[in-house]
Amino acid sequence: MFDEDFANEKSVIHRLDPRVKIVIAAAFSSVISVSSRWIALAPGLVFSVSLVLISGLPIRKVCLRLVVVNSLILFLWFFLPFSLKGTPCFTIGPFTATKEGMLYVLLLTLRSNIIVLALVSLVSTIPIFALGRAMGRLCVPNKIVQLFLFTYRYLHVIHLEYLRLVNALKIRGFRPTTSMHTYKTYAYLFGMLLVKSYDRSERVRKAMLCRGFKGKFYDMTRPSLRTFDLVTMLLMCVAVVGIALLQWTRFIY
């Protein structure tokens, strides 16, 4: 279920310190998410597309992720062009699409795709556990980091439990239909899963107590930033600041 297949390549981007990648991803997405000018978004697109290319991720899989994101955005295309006021563009029945509305949706689409591409190349190239530790070192509150790591660790176990329950249904000839019986069965399934995961969390807590847990976790790895990380960080910061300048100043025109 969780193969982390994007984290297993060996590109320059993969070798970058996770902290650098998180900081850049956060800064870049924040700038892009409030950018409204094409002159700022165009280099943003170039930036994230080149990151994807450098990371050597399989293009087909990256495109599949974009399809997921864009299928959500598709709904905006159904509504937004017709709900903003402005110059009429075309009419379908009683609804009139406006030029402003169209441009606005295009802007949203572009922004989302740029951000997703950057996150795919920067964040999903970090193995989950390294991501958790890096978050800890970046002063993200300990509780959030632990919640994140435990969720990931036990999602896997809960998924296996889910598969066991589904198999138990299958071997007794259960076939989902649109009926009260099906709804009831699914309700039982998820209820059971909830109870089981609660019980498991209790057992995990007890196991931790048995090993002397006092509420503190220890980080055994102490990586230091290499020159390569610092230089890349600097270059990427320049790129992000450049995009911000294009958005908020009148450098170019």
Binding site: F129, C210, R211, Y218
Partner: protein, 248 residues
């Protein structure tokens, strides 16, 4: 007997889960140094409950607990107990929560106040002693069932306990891993108690067997013929046979 040699002493322990029938009804139990005790009994008979009471994870309704010669009552007392008694849980997934094997094995020693370097050393040593060298960077949830069990044992042994409590350690293991576990247990220089339904396994690894029946500990020395096929001690208690162990 000298008090110092008694590791665990339980007197008249009663316990019931809220609103339910009593699980334990007057348990008397004593574990001495180097003693190896097997505990068998029916499902839901309170064996796991008994272990959790010894570790202070559950509070008995009444009774007296003495560990290493000291009366144990408060959570603070139990915190000290957990430094000297290791419990191996039934399901290794409950025990292994850290990203990597090394971090998980080092978790106990770190909680005992060891430095990161020391904890790392202890972890590597423990892994090596169980034949698990090279496992340190493996991701815990991607291990096989048998590997998970052995790594769980390593996480407990890394704390250098004086007593080991094992809750059905052979469940779900193949004959080879079971055999490996038997030889590890035989080499251990510490007292242990374990729960198992596998009477052949229990007979190979312990000196004494107790049964837990109707909330009480029964010790039964005479042989009880209980089927027309075979007969041995503890035959009156529900148990299973791993015929696979007979050939080993």
């Amino acid at each position: 007997m000298d008090k110092i040699h008694i590791l665990i002493n339980l007197e008249d322990i009663h316990f019931s889960y809220s609103g339910q029938k009593a699980v334990l009804q007057g348990i008397y139990f004593r574990l001495c140094e180097r003693e190896r005790i097997g505990l068998i009994g029916p499902n839901g008979g309170g064996k796991t409950t008994l272990f959790h009471i010894i570790m202070g994870l559950l509070k008995p309704t009444s009774g007296k607990i003495e560990i290493l010669g000291k009366g144990i009552e408060s959570e603070k007392d139990f915190r000290a107990v957990r430094q000297s008694i290791g419990l191996l849980f039934q399901d290794p997934d409950d025990q292994l929560f850290s990203p990597t094997v090394l971090e998980d094995v080092a978790f106990g020693p770190l909680n005992q106040g060891k430095s990161i370097k020391e904890a790392k050393g202890i972890a590597m040593e423990t892994l090596a002693s169980l034949g698990l060298s090279g496992f340190e960077d493996r991701v815990t949830y991607k291990l096989s069932g048998g590997e998970k069990r052995l790594v769980s044992l390593a996480t407990v042994l890394a704390m250098k306990p004086k007593v080991l409590l094992l809750d059905e350690p052979t469940t779900g293991l193949d004959p080879e891993t079971t055999q490996r576990l038997i030889s590890i247990l035989k080499q251990l220089d510490i007292a242990y108690v374990f729960i198992s339904h596998d009477i052949d396994f229990v007979m190979q690894t312990t000196d004494k067997i107790y049964g837990l029946l109707n909330g009480r500990i029964v010790s039964e020395e005479e042989i009880a013929p209980h089927t027309h096929i075979h007969a041995h001690g503890f035959g009156r208690l529900p148990h299973s046979h791993s015929s696979r162990l007979a050939d080993v």
